[in-house]
C-alpha cells in the first residue's frame, strides 16, 4: 500500500510541486494549507510522513509539529519541516518542537525525494 504523506504549505505552487513529486514516487499525498487546516484534514487518520512549511497563517509549521507530537497517534511519525537557507534557527525550533528533519528550500524534486527516503523509505 502506498505510503501516505501529508504536505502542508500555504503556497499552492509548493503544494502542487510537492504533491506532484511525491505522487510521482508512489506516495499518496494529502494536502493542507496551514497548520490548522492540516489538523482538520488529518482528523485522526494515520499518515506515514508529514512535510510542513514553517511560515503559514493560522497555525505555523512549528506549532503544527508541537500539536502533532502531543497526539500519541503522531508521536512516531516522521515530520520534515521545509525551511529556507536563511532561517537556521527554524531548524532548532523545529527540533525543539519534535520535528524529525528538515528540507531546505528552494524546492528541488530530487532533493525532496532523497530526504523523504531518509526518514520514510
Amino acid at each position: 500500500m502506498a505510503k501516505k504523506v501529508l504536505a502542508v504549505d500555504d503556497s499552492k505552487t509548493m503544494r502542487d510541486m510537492v504533491s506532484f513529486t511525491l505522487s510521482g514516487a508512489g506516495f499518496e499525498v494529502i494536502l493542507a494549507e496551514d497548520g490548522a487546516h492540516a489538523l482538520s484534514v488529518l482528523n485522526g487518520q494515520s499518515v506515514d510522513l508529514v512535510i510542513t512549511d514553517v511560515n503559514m497563517p493560522n497555525m505555523n509549521g512549528i506549532e503544527l509539529v508541537g500539536k502533532l507530537r502531543e497526539n500519541p497517534l503522531y508521536k512516531t511519525v516522521p515530520i520534515l519541516i521545509l525551511t529556507t537557507e536563511s532561517d537556521d534557527s527554524i531548524k532548532g525550533q523545529g527540533r525543539a518542537a519534535g520535528a524529525t528533519g528538515w528540507i531546505v528550500k528552494p524546492f528541488v524534486p530530487d532533493k525532496l525525494l532523497k530526504v523523504v527516503a531518509k526518514v520514510c523509505p
Partner: protein, 797 residues
C-alpha cells in the same frame, strides 16, 4: 509566456506560481496600505512577510535568480520588522512600497521570460540594505558603485568537498539518545542508509540492556559501531546522520585502506535528554548484528534521569547547538555552513544534500517521470486552473442544451395527452438538472471583484501623491462575485472613475480645511449584489460636480443649446456626453482621451448602466449597475401581437390588468397609468417596435410594471404573458446590430428568435420623450399657470 515554456516540465507549476504571485501581490498592496495607515499589527507584518516568503520559495524552485536575490533581502528586512528589531516608520513604508513595485516587475520579467535588466531593482535593494544596516538611504538615482555586484549572484555554492576518490574505511560509533526517537528518527533507517554507501559491518553493543523489570520502553539501550568501506566522501557520511547529529553520541573516524587513521572525528554530543530507549529496533533486523561488549563509555551516565523518559523533552535550540563540537575543518559540521546574514542566497544550502548516488534508496527517484495518477486523497479545498476558452465552450453548450430542452418541452405541450407519461416526467426532471448544471457552470466563471478592487489602492496612492491630496480609500464588498468577463471589464472604468474622483472630485487639503472638512478626503469603493445584479459605487466627499462650469462647457461644445434650461440632474448627467471633459487642463492623470462617455459606453456594452448623483460641496456618487453574468437571464416571455419579447425577471415588479379609468392620455398621445396614487408612464411595445396585429385597446392589455435603474418605474404594455423562462443571451449587436430598447436576443424552444427588452433603455427613451413632453407641457401650461408636475397633468386635460 514564451512558447518554449511549454516544453518546460515545470510549466504547469509556473503557471500556478505566477497566478499565485498575482494574488499575493494583489494582497500586498492592501497590506502595505494598511501598514501606511498605521496598522502595525504583528499579524499584518506576518502576512506581508509571507507574501515575500512564498514568492521567494517559488522563485527558488524555478531558479528565477533575480527574484530570489531580491526577495531574500526584502524578506530579511521584513523579518526584522516582524521580530521587532526594527520598527515601522514612514521611510520604511516607502521603501516597502517601492520594493513591492520592484517585485511586481521582477515577477513580470520572469513571467514574460524577459531578461531582467542588470541594474533593475539595484537601487531599491540598496535601500533595503541601508535600512537593514541602519544607514541613511542612498540618494535617488545614485546607484551603488557596483550595482550589479550589489545583487548577489544566486548560483549555488558548489558542494564544498568534492567526492574523494578511492575507497576509504570509516569507523563510526553511534549511540542514540531518547530524543532521537522523540523526533521520530529511526536507527534502522540510518543503518540502511549507511549500508547504501558501501560495505557495512555493524556491531551492536547491547550490554546496556538492563534486567527486564527495570527496562524502560522509551529509553535507548543500544549503541552501534559501524565499519564502512566506501567510496563515498565524508560529506556523504555526515549527511546520513544529518538529522540525528544532535540526538546521539557520534564519532566518525576515517581510515585509509590500510587502517591508518586519516580523518578526524566529529563528536556531536548533546548532553540533553539523555534518556535512552530502544524498543523501536529489533535486533534481528540489523544487518550483521553482533553483540560486542567492549564499548568503554557509557553514553548515558551523566544526565540519566528516569523521570524524564516518556515525555517530549523540550530541547532548547541554543542548548542543542552548544553541545555540538566541531573539532576539525574536515568535520563538516552542520552548523559550519549555516548561512550568515550576509551570505548570498544559496540554492544549494545548508542541508546540502548532494548528488551522491544512493543505489539502494528504497524510494524510486523519478520526480520527472510522467505520472498521470492523481493523489487519491486531496485536501478539501483544491482547485484546478482551466483555460477560459474551455469554460466558455462549456457555457455555450449548456446554453444549447437549455434551448433544446425548451424545444422538447414545447413539443410536449403539443402532445397534450402525453403529459403524464414518463416522457413528460423525464423532461420535467431534466429541466431541474439542466438548471442545476447551468448554475454550476456559471459559477465556474464567477470570481470576486477583489481582483480589480485590489488594484485601486495603488492608483489612489500614486495619483494622490502626484496631486498632493490626502485620501483614504475605503473598499467594501470586495468578495462580491461576478462573472469573470464582468470583472475584467470593470478595471478600466473603475480606474478612470477613481482617477476622476481624485482629480476633479476631491479638493486639496487646504481647500478642504477652508470648507470645514477634514484634510483627508475619502473615496468609497463598494460592491454589492442587488436583485441579481451587481452594484458598484464610487463615492467621494469632494466638491461635487461644478454645475455652472459643466453647463458652460456643454454650451461651448454645442452639447446643449444656449437657451436650454436644464435641471441639476440633467447637468450632472452631461458629464457622460461624448467628448466631454471638465478638466481644466489635460494632465497625465485625466484627459487621456477617455472620458465618462467611454466609461458609459463600456458599461452599457456589458448590459450595465452608470448613474451619478452629486451635491455641490458634499461629494459625488457614481453607481454602476451590471448583470452578474452575460450569458443567461431569467425572463418573462410576453406576447405582443405576433411578436414575443422577454422581460428580465429582475426588473419586474408586478403585472396588472389596468382599469379603464386608471389610464390617462397625455397631450402628446402617450399614456400614464395610476397605480396606488402614483402615475406611471406606459411604454407601448406595440408602438415602440411597430408590432403588427397587436391589441390596441389598452384596457384589454396587460401592464407589466418594471423598475429601471435610478428607481424609475415604467409600465410595459403587452397582450399576454407566456411564462417564465431562463433564456440564453445571444448578442444582438454581434449578430445583427444595435436596436434601441432591445438589450439582446435569445432563441426560444421553437427556434424563433426573441428579443430581450432593455428596460433601462426603454425608460431612457421614455424619459427623453417625457422631457420633450414635459417641455411641451410646460410651454402649454405656462399660460394656464399649472405646474408641470406629471401627476397633475390630468387636470390640464
Amino acid at each position: 509566456m514564451l512558447p518554449s515554456m511549454q516544453d518546460d516540465p515545470f510549466y504547469q507549476f509556473k503557471v500556478t506560481f505566477f497566478e499565485e504571485c498575482d494574488e499575493l501581490l494583489g494582497n500586498m498592496e492592501s497590506y502595505l496600505t494598511d501598514l501606511e495607515e498605521g496598522d502595525h499589527d504583528s499579524e499584518l507584518l506576518n502576512a506581508i512577510f509571507r507574501v515575500v516568503h512564498s514568492i521567494k520559495a517559488g522563485a527558488g524552485a524555478f531558479s528565477f535568480e533575480r527574484m530570489v536575490n531580491f526577495t531574500h533581502r526584502f524578506e530579511f528586512l521584513l523579518d526584522k520588522l516582524r521580530d521587532g528589531s526594527m520598527t515601522v516608520d514612514d521611510t520604511i513604508v516607502r521603501v516597502l512600497f517601492d520594493s513591492n513595485d520592484v517585485l511586481v516587475d521582477l515577477v513580470d520579467f520572469a513571467r514574460n521570460g524577459a531578461e531582467t535588466p542588470r541594474e533593475f531593482g539595484a537601487h531599491e535593494l540598496a535601500k533595503i540594505e541601508a535600512l537593514i544596516n541602519g544607514e541613511s538611504l542612498p540618494e535617488e538615482g545614485a546607484l551603488p558603485a557596483a550595482a550589479g555586484s550589489a545583487v548577489p549572484e544566486v548560483e549555488g555554492e558548489k558542494s564544498k568537498a568534492g567526492t574523494d576518490a578511492g575507497s576509504k574505511v570509516f569507523e563510526i560509533d553511534f549511540s542514540p539518545k531518547p530524543s532521537l526517537f522523540q523526533h521520530a528518527n529511526e536507527p534502522l533507517l540510518i543503518i540502511r542508509e549507511l549500508s547504501g554507501l558501501g560495505d557495512l559491518k555493524v556491531s551492536l553493543d547491547s550490554s546496556m540492556i538492563p534486567e527486564l523489570h527495570v527496562m524502560e520502553p522509551e529509553k535507548s539501550y543500544f549503541t552501534w559501531t559501524f565499519e564502512l568501506n566506501t567510496e563515498a566522501s565524508r560529506d556523504d557520511i555526515d549527511e546520513v546522520f544529518e538529522f540525528v547529529v544532535d540526538d546521539c553520541d557520534l564519532t566518525i573516524v576515517e581510515k585509509d585502506c590500510t587502517g591508518k587513521i586519516t580523518g578526524v572525528d566529529v563528536t556531536a554530543a548533546s548532553d540533553l535528554g539523555d534518556d535512552d530507549f530502544g524498543f523501536f529496533v529489533n535486533e534481528e533486523d540489523l544487518p550483521g548484528n553482533q553483540a560486542s561488549s567492549n564499548q568503554s563509555a557509557e553514553p548515558t551516565v551523566d544526565q540519566e534521569d528516569d523521570d524524564d523518559f516518556g515525555f517530549f523533552v523540550d530541547v532548547d535550540a541554543g542548548e542543542v547547538e552548544a553541545g555540538v563540537q566541531t573539532n576539525d575543518e574536515n568535520s563538516k559540521s552542520y552548523k559550519a555552513d549555516s548561512l550568515p546574514v550576509e551570505a548570498p542566497a544559496s540554492s544549494e544550502a545548508t542541508a546540502s544534500v548532494k548528488q551522491s548516488s544512493m543505489p539502494q534508496a528504497p524510494v524510486p527517484q523519478t520526480a520527472n517521470a510522467p505520472v498521470a495518477e492523481k493523489p487519491t486523497s486531496v485536501a478539501k479545498v483544491s482547485s484546478i486552473r482551466v483555460d477560459i476558452d474551455r469554460v466558455d465552450k462549456l457555457v455555450n453548450m449548456v446554453g444549447e442544451i437549455v434551448i433544446t430542452h425548451s424545444m422538447l418541452a414545447s413539443e410536449l405541450t403539443v402532445l397534450q395527452e402525453d403529459r403524464q407519461t414518463s416522457l413528460g416526467s423525464g423532461i420535467e426532471e431534466m429541466s431541474m438538472h439542466i438548471r442545476e448544471l447551468q448554475d454550476n457552470v456559471m459559477a465556474i466563471r464567477m470570481q470576486p471583484v477583489k481582483s480589480v478592487f485590489s488594484r485601486m489602492p495603488r492608483i489612489v496612492r500614486d495619483v494622490s501623491k502626484k496631486l498632493d491630496k490626502k485620501v483614504k480609500l475605503v473598499t467594501e464588498g470586495e468578495n462580491t462575485e461576478v462573472d469573470k468577463t464582468v470583472v475584467e471589464e470593470l478595471a478600466d472604468p473603475l480606474t478612470h472613475m477613481i482617477r476622476n474622483s481624485l482629480d476633479h472630485g476631491l479638493e486639496t487639503p487646504d481647500e478642504r480645511i477652508a470648507a470645514g472638512k477634514p484634510a483627508e478626503g475619502k473615496i468609497l469603493l463598494s460592491a454589492e449584489h442587488r436583485g441579481g445584479r451587481i452594484v458598484i459605487t464610487i463615492a467621494d466627499d469632494g466638491r461635487g460636480i461644478n454645475r455652472p462650469k459643466v453647463l458652460e462647457l456643454a454650451k461651448e461644445k454645442g452639447v446643449v443649446e444656449e437657451s436650454q434650461v436644464l435641471s441639476d440632474e440633467e447637468i450632472d448627467n452631461l458629464i457622460f456626453a461624448p467628448g466631454f471633459s471638465t478638466a481644466d487642463e489635460v494632465t497625465d492623470l485625466s484627459g487621456r482621451g477617455v472620458g465618462m462617455d467611454v466609461v458609459r459606453r463600456n458599461i452599457q456594452s456589458l448590459g450595465g448602466r452608470v448613474s451619478v448623483v452629486s451635491e455641490p460641496g458634499v461629494g459625488s456618487r457614481f453607481q454602476l449597475t451590471l448583470p452578474l453574468t452575460l450569458a443567461v437571464l431569467d425572463g418573462m416571455v410576453v406576447g405582443v401581437g405576433e411578436q414575443k419579447f422577454v422581460i428580465p425577471i429582475n426588473n419586474i415588479i408586478e403585472t396588472l390588468r389596468p382599469e379603464k379609468e386608471a389610464i390617462k392620455t397625455l397631450v402628446d398621445g402617450t399614456h400614464v397609468i395610476k397605480v396606488r396614487g402614483e402615475y406611471i408612464r406606459l411604454v407601448e411595445t406595440r408602438k415602440t417596435f411597430s408590432v403588427l396585429n397587436a391589441e390596441t385597446d389598452l384596457s384589454k392589455n396587460l401592464v407589466v410594471l418594471v423598475e429601471a435603474d435610478g428607481d424609475r418605474t415604467i409600465g410595459i404594455v403587452v397582450d399576454k404573458l407566456s411564462g417564465q423562462q431562463q433564456v440564453v443571451i445571444k448578442s444582438l449587436e454581434a449578430n445583427f446590430g444595435r436596436v434601441e430598447g432591445i438589450a439582446s436576443a435569445t432563441i426560444l424552444g421553437n427556434g424563433s428568435v426573441c428579443l430581450i427588452l432593455d428596460i433601462d433603455g426603454l425608460a431612457d427613451m421614455d424619459s427623453s420623450n417625457q422631457s420633450d413632453t414635459a417641455h411641451y407641457l410646460k410651454s402649454n401650461m405656462l399660460s394656464s399657470g399649472i405646474s408641470s408636475d406629471v401627476s397633475e397633468n390630468e387636470a390640464a386635460q
